[in-house]
């Protein structure tokens, strides 16, 4: 079977707890800065954990007048604003009907639903509470009139969105796709994770033996995808492959052996027509929960074989928290920036490695390296597993 059409990631934009744009995100990652802080925008007084990766000011947009009120939509628009600043993509330089939007989310516009149910009965609220509303707000802001797709594979959503975006290009449905993920912190999700007792009051310490859970974060992360043969200028990298698999095990807990993630990794490598020996760097989901990090390590060892011990594996969730629908897209961008800049960001707060997590997790400080092929893994509620294969250019 012939290889699938290659899809280029031309550029990326982001708004994260680490700063208003992709450059701030990258600089903070490599210098070991943290975006975790006391949550201020939402009333968290009754919650056990009151910290997270909260964005104090959304992006660089000077006035939000006339733009959507919902925070989820604003995160997307701020990320798109950063993307457009790098690519001159607004106003659209091509037929708007050929520009698609594909975004992933775990929560959609649920905060608008919370407000509506709390008595703010503005008619718009409920419409904005639907999970696909922010994607349409983004399309409207961009002026895009091609397909608008929302995917919701929980915390693997950002990876799924990039893959679906690539499929739209390969299928000829669009000539350019703005794809990525987002999620906003709100009481709904903070209360939910609080009830699950998966949040930590300590630092987020992926792969550390003292790890005690995750912290949530919020972000918007978008990339401009174009068929590689249509790109004339610089590009960030290539989206080589994608794989997904369902655990079929439990609604909230990962399958204890990580078989679903292993299948997703194998499928992504097969899609990319590559083998484990080709992988130079792994961006792990690495949530710092007791189960996740051990299971993910086991899955990487089985899927990559001896190569798992030879390549750096990092997690950036210690730096900005778990940004849910945005996480996989941000981690994909981090991979490509690592290749471009020749530095792999460290796994923040990893000081005492867990003996069961015995791979090279890049503790301490950023490491000089220039990976060519990168694997990024994601896991989510419902046993959603996703894996992306990225290639440096």
């Amino acid at each position: 079977m012939s290889a699938p059409e290659r899809v280029a990631i031309v550029a990326a934009g982001a708004v994260t707890p680490l700063g208003p744009d992709l450059e701030a995100f990258w600089s903070a990652l490599v210098t070991g800065a943290s975006g975790i802080s006391q949550i201020e925008r939402i009333d968290v007084a009754d919650l056990r954990v009151q910290r997270g990766g909260e964005i104090k000011k959304i992006g660089r947009i000077k006035s939000w007048r006339g733009l959507p009120e919902g925070r989820a939509s604003r995160l997307l628009i701020a990320a798109a604003d950063d993307l457009c600043a790098q690519t001159a993509f607004r106003p659209l330089p091509l037929d708007p009907a050929r520009v698609a939007v594909v975004v992933g989310t775990a929560l959609g516009g649920v905060e608008e639903g919370e407000k509506a149910l709390a008595g703010d009965g503005r008619r718009r609220r409920f419409r904005d509470a639907l999970y696909d509303a922010p994607a349409w707000d983004l399309a409207r802001w961009l002026g895009a009139r091609g397909p608008v797709v929302t995917v919701a594979t929980a915390c693997a959503s950002g990876a799924t969105a990039l893959a679906v975006g690539a499929d739209l290009l390969r299928g000829g449905e669009a000539d350019a796709v703005v794809a990525g993920g987002y999620d906003a912190l709100c009481r709904f999700v903070l209360r939910g994770f609080n009830a699950l007792r998966s949040l930590t009051r300590e630092e987020v310490r992926p792969f550390d033996r003292r790890r005690a859970g995750l912290l949530l974060g919020e972000a918007g992360a978008l990339a401009l995808l174009v068929r590689e043969r249509d790109v004339t200028g610089p590009r960030l990298g290539i989206l080589r492959g994608y794989g997904s698999a369902s655990d079929g095990f439990h609604i909230a807990a990962p399958e204890p052996e990580g078989r679903g993630l292993e299948r997703a990794i194998r499928a992504a490598l097969a899609d990319a027509r590559l083998g484990p020996e080709d992988v130079d760097f792994v961006s792990a989901h690495g949530t710092a929960t007791l189960l996740n990090d051990r299971i993910e390590t086991a899955a990487l060892k089985r899927a990559l074989g001896p190569r798992a011990y030879e390549v750096p594996v990092n997690s950036i969730k210690g730096s900005l928290g778990h940004t849910m629908g945005a996480a996989a897209a941000l981690e994909a961008f981090m991979c490509l920036l690592s290749a471009q800049r020749g530095l792999i960001p460290p796994t923040l707060n990893l000081e005492e490695p867990d003996p069961e997590c015995d791979l090279d997790y890049v503790p301490g400080r950023a490491r000089a390296a220039r990976p060519r092929i990168m694997l990024s893994t994601s896991m989510g509620f419902g046993g959603c597993n996703g894996a992306l294969i990225l290639e440096a250019t």
Partner: protein, 256 residues
């Protein structure tokens, strides 16, 4: 694109309510076992739709188990019920994980042992047509041997909120759970999506929830209707069309 073939389709739709009610509701299915004690109505309806699909295909659950089965889930609004309950009961009743749309296909994956590729699309009828097209691609690429397109739409718990959007819908809202079993086929399938006009995100006419195309397909499968099948739907101003020939799979035709 080479079209997938329909092996089976399970469809459950709500019954007409008392005069004046806006929702044709589906009852919460009974399902034995402690595992389902906390499951939400949309999850149980998804399981019932798969049961109905297996019955239609005269197949056992083993026929869809394993990593060679892909699962694509579509909904526009089914998560509304669990989200609302979680918000209004302050998180005390619904297990938080059940508020995630991903949990509906997860329950199917757990119950029937489906562990292959998966996807979840949020949107109305165009998203369902896109999911059928994606399933065709997965089959065409050899990523899976069979693909299930699962759709659940429930409205009863949020009927008052949907009423605020009534100008976008044709009333009444019919609750539906459906599962479509696709196999490699021999026909042709083309999918087109375009804007129906007006501003992006604004419906230019009556919207159709995600289940509508599968309800239409079920109707078509019941009779000797001519091919190609044309399915269409509009949501938030996107209008999608699917044109499909040789819709029935070889196995379904043989069984007939």
């Amino acid at each position: 694109m080479r079209a997938p073939g329909v092996r089976a389709l399970g469809l459950l739709t709500g019954r007409p309510p008392a005069a004046g009610a806006a929702v044709h509701a589906l009852a919460r299915p009974d399902r034995p076992g402690d595992r389902f004690r906390r499951a939400t109505r949309e999850c149980l309806l998804a399981l019932a739709a798969v049961d109905a699909m297996l019955e239609d295909g005269k197949a056992t659950r083993e026929a869809i188990a394993g990593e060679r089965t892909a699962l694509l889930y579509v909904t526009a609004a089914a998560y509304g019920a669990s989200n609302r309950e979680f918000v209004e009961r302050r998180g005390g009743v619904v297990h938080f994980a059940y508020t995630a749309p991903a949990v509906v296909p997860a329950e199917v994956a757990i119950e029937f042992g489906v562990t292959g590729a998966y996807g979840i699309l949020i949107g109305g009828a165009p998203a369902t047509l896109r999911a059928i097209e994606q399933a065709g691609r997965l089959l065409d690429a050899g990523t899976c041997d069979r693909a299930l397109v699962l759709v659940v739409e429930i409205f009863e718990e949020c009927a008052d909120l949907h009423a605020a959007r009534r100008r976008y819908h044709r009333w009444p809202l019919v609750e539906t759970a459906a599962c479509l079993w696709l196999e490699p086929g021999a026909g042709e399938l083309s999918f087109r999506s375009s804007r129906a006009g007006g501003r992006p995100g604004r419906a230019a006419g009556p919207e159709r929830f995600a289940a509508a195309p599968l309800a239409e397909l079920a109707e078509w499968l019941r009779g000797p209707a001519p091919e190609p099948v044309e399915l269409a739907g509009r949501w938030r101003g996107e209008e999608a069309r699917l044109r499909w020939t040789r819709v029935r799979s070889h196995a379904r035709e043989s069984a007939a």
